[in-house]
Structure formats: structure tokens, C-alpha cells
């Protein structure tokens, strides 16, 4: 028995060592910064990487940009519950882009990061809370996202070694074909499945009902995209905007406002810093105008 326990402990020690190595890579790249939020605002923008492009340009106008790359409605729901618990929220600006209810977004989410905004009552069982909040956070073998980050890091290193690099030219310097290729790749990833995620629909419905029950003004927005991307996804929506509209909330569609301004974009569907700054201004003006 002693030999067995000794071997098990030694084996576990080696696993812990590998875990520590992974944490060095993943911890820095993934968990850092996600938990930064200011509770001194009354309005919050909840979106994914599309919202992230707005940086803090909207903050000075009283809207905190609470967006993060890959945030799904699961994550936004957690954030909203956190905000309701901790501050007074009057308005939530929520992304309702065409792909936000896709299976892609169901899988590519931030559930293991947004767990920092949860409390035990958000879970059916306390063990689920402990599991998600602590075990998955610190034991990387239980965390699938850490695996994806590791894979990306390894691929990046490999590409650096072999000289195979991705496109790194700014969007407006790419030629037509390169732009089209990137737009194709992006649209193909986001709309790879024909059917929407029912779990995400349910999360969005919970967000809507939380806003209604807490008397929070919900505003849906669709972010601008380049015409390369838009021409590929036209008519392919999973209709998150309709869900919000049908519940009586306002939706602003900015999809095509910069279709002729390629210099505003970082890639087919993300604004660059310049575009983000201009869009922040447009967004706030539109909301205020409509509010009046």
C-alpha cells in the first residue's frame, strides 16, 4: 500500500509540475485583465470582440465598456447578474450581431473566465460553483480553454520557427483577394452550423427578462462590418436582434454604416482603434438622439 501511495503521490507531483508549466503560459495570456470592471457607472456595454474595439472611448460618456473577446450570452448573463448584485444599472447596451446565437459562439465562449463574476447562488449545486470557480481555474487539466490556448501558443511558436506567418498587414493594405479570403474564413467559422444554439437563446432570454424585472433599459446593437464580410453573411442571421425587438426593446443596426470605409477596420468584421473611436461617438449620439 505504501508503495502504491508513494507512486500515486509522485505521479501527481509530476502532474502538478506540468500544471504549473501550463499555468505560466495560460494564466498570463488568458485570465489576466478579465476581472477588471468599474462599478461607478450606470450604463454598461456587453459585447464580444466587436465591443472590445471601442476600448474606453465610451467610458467618458458614462458607459462602461464591459466587453471582452469571445464573450457569449452565457458570460454576459453572468456579468449582468454581477452588476445587478453590486451596483445600480440603468442601461445595458447589448450586442445582437447576426452570429451571436451561433453554435460557434456557444463553444467559443468565456465561461471559465466569467466565472469570476458568479456567486454560489448562480449555480444549481454548490459543488458546481467550487468546480467552475476554483478547480477549473487552478487545475488546467480540467479546463479545456487552457488546452486551446496551449495549442495556439504551440502553433504560433511553430510558425515563428518555420517562418510561416499569418497575415499581419493592416486590413486596408490587403489586396482584394486577401480581404475576400479573410472575410470568407471569418464568415465560414461563425456560420459553420446551420442551426442556432438553443442554450444561447435561453441565455439571451434570461438577459432580457432580468433587464425587464430590474427596470434596466436594454438596447440591442449590431456592430459595423466591412462590405466583404457583409456580402457573405447577408441573410444568414440567427436573429438575436428579433428576440430583443420582440420583447419591446430598441435595436440599432450599424452593420453597413462603414461599408465604404475600409480604413476603419482591423479585419473583416472588427473595427480598428480609429474606427472604434468614430463608432463610439456615433453609437452614443444615436442612442441619445433616440432617447430624446
Amino acid at each position: 500500500m505504501k508503495k502504491f501511495i508513494f507512486n500515486i503521490l509522485f505521479f501527481l507531483f509530476l502532474l502538478v509540475f506540468i500544471n504549473a508549466l501550463i499555468s505560466l503560459i495560460v494564466g498570463k495570456a488568458y485570465f489576466k485583465d478579465y476581472s477588471e470592471v468599474s462599478l461607478n457607472y450606470n450604463s454598461y456595454l456587453l459585447a464580444d470582440s466587436h465591443g472590445k474595439a471601442l476600448k474606453d472611448f465610451i467610458n467618458e460618456n458614462g458607459v462602461f465598456n464591459f466587453s471582452c473577446e469571445s464573450d457569449s450570452y452565457f458570460d454576459m448573463l453572468r456579468k449582468l447578474r454581477f452588476l445587478i448584485r453590486n451596483t445600480k444599472v440603468n442601461r445595458v447596451i447589448l450586442t445582437v450581431d447576426d452570429y451571436t446565437l451561433s453554435r460557434y459562439r456557444e463553444i467559443a465562449n468565456n465561461l471559465d473566465r466569467s466565472v469570476v463574476y458568479t456567486s454560489p447562488e448562480d449555480f444549481d449545486h454548490k459543488f458546481d460553483f467550487i468546480k467552475d470557480r476554483y478547480l477549473k481555474r487552478y487545475i488546467f487539466f480540467f479546463n479545456p480553454k487552457s488546452r486551446d490556448i496551449m495549442k495556439a501558443k504551440i502553433t504560433e511558436k511553430y510558425k515563428q520557427k518555420t517562418g510561416k506567418k499569418d497575415y499581419n498587414k493592416p486590413w486596408n493594405e490587403l489586396n482584394e483577394q486577401e480581404k475576400l479570403n479573410l472575410a470568407n474564413f471569418r464568415a465560414g467559422s461563425l456560420f459553420q452550423d446551420k442551426y442556432r444554439s438553443e442554450d444561447l437563446v435561453s441565455a439571451l432570454e434570461k438577459i432580457i427578462s432580468l433587464c425587464r424585472s430590474n427596470k434596466i433599459e436594454l438596447i440591442g446593437i449590431k456592430f459595423p462590418s466591412s462590405h466583404y464580410y457583409y456580402s457573405l453573411i447577408r441573410g444568414k442571421s440567427f436573429n438575436a436582434d428579433s428576440l430583443v425587438k420582440n420583447k419591446g426593446f430598441r435595436v440599432f443596426d450599424f452593420t453597413t454604416i462603414y461599408r465604404n470605409n475600409d480604413d476603419y477596420f482591423h479585419d473583416p468584421d472588427h473595427l480598428n482603434e480609429h474606427g472604434g473611436k468614430i463608432f463610439a461617438d456615433t453609437l452614443l449620439k444615436s442612442i441619445q438622439k433616440q432617447s430624446w
Binding site: L15, P144, Q192
Partner: protein, 497 residues
Amino acid sequence: MLFNSLEFGTFLPLVFLLYWFVVNKNLKAQNVLLLLASYFFYGWWDWRFLLLLILISILNYFWGIMIDKNEIIRKRKIWFITGVIINIGILGVFKYYNFFIDSFIDLVSLIGYNLPKSTLKIILPLGISFYTFLSLSYIIDIYRKSLSANRNIIEVLLTLSFFPIILAGPIQRPSSLLTQIGEKRIFNYDQSVDGLRQILWGLFMKIALADNLAPYTDEFFPHFSDYSGSTLLLGAIFYAVQIYTDFSGYSNIAIGTAKLFGFKLMHNFNYPYFSKNIAEFWKKWHISLTTWFRDYLFLPISFAISWKIKKERVIFIKTDFFIYIMASILTWSLIGLWHGANYTFIIWGMIHGLFLIIYQWQSKPRKRLLKNLGIKNTHSLVVIIDTIVTLTIVLTAWIFFKADNVSHALNYLSAIFSRSIFAIPVFSRRSHAMLILFFVILFFIIEWTGREKEYALTDLELKWSKPLRWMFYFVIILGIYFLGNFNETIEFIYFQF
């Protein structure tokens, strides 16, 4: 509690430590601990169904005693029949109520009466088919006097609810399990290491292979009209691999877990996809279920029919073969029905039954033919053709097993055999599927090299040095980590049965 969950990863070491360090001196305490752990494990899913499990176990305990202590044949028979009827009745209500009611309503509607559809939907308690069959063998064995009723209620309850096997088997013979439960168990280093290795291998099969194939089969089967014949054929192959790696993976984890507590369980799979004929396949696939049906249904029916028929031939068929046909048809339809309340499962069973009958019928003429041609049965070309034919039958049957209904299965089959069967398969995440396919091939190579053993990695310590073994274990762990599908919790397929 799922074997591939963090809950189980926490539960197992705790029970292991308590079992070997706290109550190790006392067999009774060890059994009580295992019983409580088993109830906790089962109740984690839904405590209300735990009450059902306890009730069934207690009833079978009493029936066992009543059958055993009564010397009068008629009384023994009454207790026995009561036990069988109530066990099957409970299974019938939970598993088949909706099926029979819906079938009855459909049947009545054929003659012009339209009855309202039943709105009562009964939830199927996890593992009910498995623990009911274990309970049935307990009272049948006592009735046959091949087992004495155990008066120790803890031992009987533990036999009927032992946590590694409660959810999806392997369905043990109570005599083997009761003997082990009643004997003092001493920690065995080699057995425990082997158990851990088997658990690791089972986890790899489930998480890295089965769960990665599941999204493809779940996409291809319901939306089959969107895909080419070649893609659908690939989907059927994926399902065949998925169900094997899922269920065999589960069985490996169950058997490995039992080894950690000093138990040796009956094994459930013996490399079935390397079978050269359908009879061999069924000696190697879900062994604990097929032997159960063989011992408790097929053989008794065969004997019962043989006593009734005194003629040499029945409808121009030799009596022996006629008996085989009748017993096979009944047994295989029930094996199909055991899997689920759907005609697809019955047809799945019937396909296997039919091909077993054909196999039996052609085996002698085939031997003669090969002898006349001067070809040995073990000739590699014959083996390859036989294996391909067997796999084709198995694959076709799996389509019925996976399909929602019979017409879905038939449409899927006809969509495979369209012109597009020669097209290059097109579907999303194809490069990922190819990666998984590569590991599936690697997996079958490992299985092939270990095909004489209990599971592919048995006795690894005899072949490899410790550093090499440990490196291999880390490779498997990293394989699970890098390949595993953790995006959704995919239950073991056999949990639905």
C-alpha cells in the same frame, strides 16, 4: 455521477482512502462504506430514483430468502414468479409504458378509432435495465438452486447496487459478486495499478475518441438529407467507432474502478470489431448481456421447445435448427427491446438474429466448399473478406440503432447508396475529423497488438520499464487534454438504456 466528471474524480479517491485506510480492518465496515458510497453515487443524479433502487433491492433480498427457504415446489414457484413479474413490471412501467401506449394508440387508429395521445411521460431511471437484470439473475439462480439466498442484507444490497456497475454494467452474476463481497479483501498493488491503468485507457476512449466523434454523428444522422452518400457512410463508421469507444471505455472504467477496491468483474468487450463472423462478434460485444440472455432465455427456451417437439423435422427444417431459429428470433427481439422502447432497437436485434441464423445455416456448406476449393479458413484473404462482411452487417445494424425511427434509418441507408457515395465527403470541421480519424486508427493498432489481453494495455509492466510506462501514461493524459471534447458533457450512450 458520470465517470468522466470532476465529481467522480473527487468521489473516487475519497472512497478509496476511506476504504483502505479507515475501515480496512473490518469487512462489514468496508461493505457498509461501499454500499453508502454506491447510494451516494447513484443518488447524486436523482435521490428519488435512489429510493426505487433501494426498494427493488430489498424486495429481491426477501424474495431470495422466500424462494430459498421454501421446500414446497409450488410455493417456491409462486415467490419466484412474483419476483420476476414485479421486477419486469417495474422495468416495463418505467422503460416501456410510453412505447406500448403509443403503439396501442397507433394500432387502434388503424382500425378507425382515434384515441388521445398519452401525455404522461415517464422518466427512465438511470441503470434500471442493468440492475433489474442483476436482480433477476439473483432470484433465478436461487430458484434454480445454483445459488443460496444470502441472509446478510448489506451484502445483497451491495451486490445489486455496487457503484462501478450500477449505471451501465457489466451485468455481473450475483454468485461471483456475492462471493467476493463476502470474502476479506486485501490490498493488491498490481491489481490496483492495473485498475488505474484501465481507468485511464477507458477515459481516453471516451473523452478523446467517442466524445469527439459524437458531434459528427449527431449532425449527420438528423440532417442526413444535407449530406452526400460518402459523408453518411463516414457518419455510420464514426457511429460504429463512437459506440464502441464509448461503451467499451465505460466498461474499462467500471472494471478498473472495481479493481481498486479488490474486485474482479466480468469483462464486457473482447475486441469485437476484429471478429470474422457475426457469431464471434456476439461473443465479444457486450459479453455480460449476451451471456445473460444466453443463460436465462435462449438456452431455457431451446430446451423447452426441444421437449415439446419430438419430430426430426419441422416444416422441412431439421428440428435442432428449427429450435435455434425460434429461440434466436425471440432472444434477439428481446435483446433489441432491452436497449430501448423503439422499433429501431427491435429491428437492430432482428438483423443480428437473422444473420446469426444465416451464419449457422451456411457454416457447414461453407466449410465443405472451402475444403473442395483447397482454401483454408484461416487464409488471410478469407479472413479479410469475412471481417469486412461482418463489419458491414454490424454497421448496417448500427444505423437502425442510432436512427430516431425506422423510416429515418431506411432513408439514411438509401441516402448512403446514392450516386454521391463516390463523392469526396464534405462537412464542417473536416480537418478536425481527419485528426480524430488518425487517432482512431492509432487506437485500433494498439487494440490489435493487445487483442489477446483483457484490455489493450494489460500487463504493460511485463513489456515496458517503469519510466517508459509512466511516459506513456503522461502521453495518454496529454492526449486526453489536447484531444478531448470538453465543450459539452456527453453522457455515456448506454446510460439511456
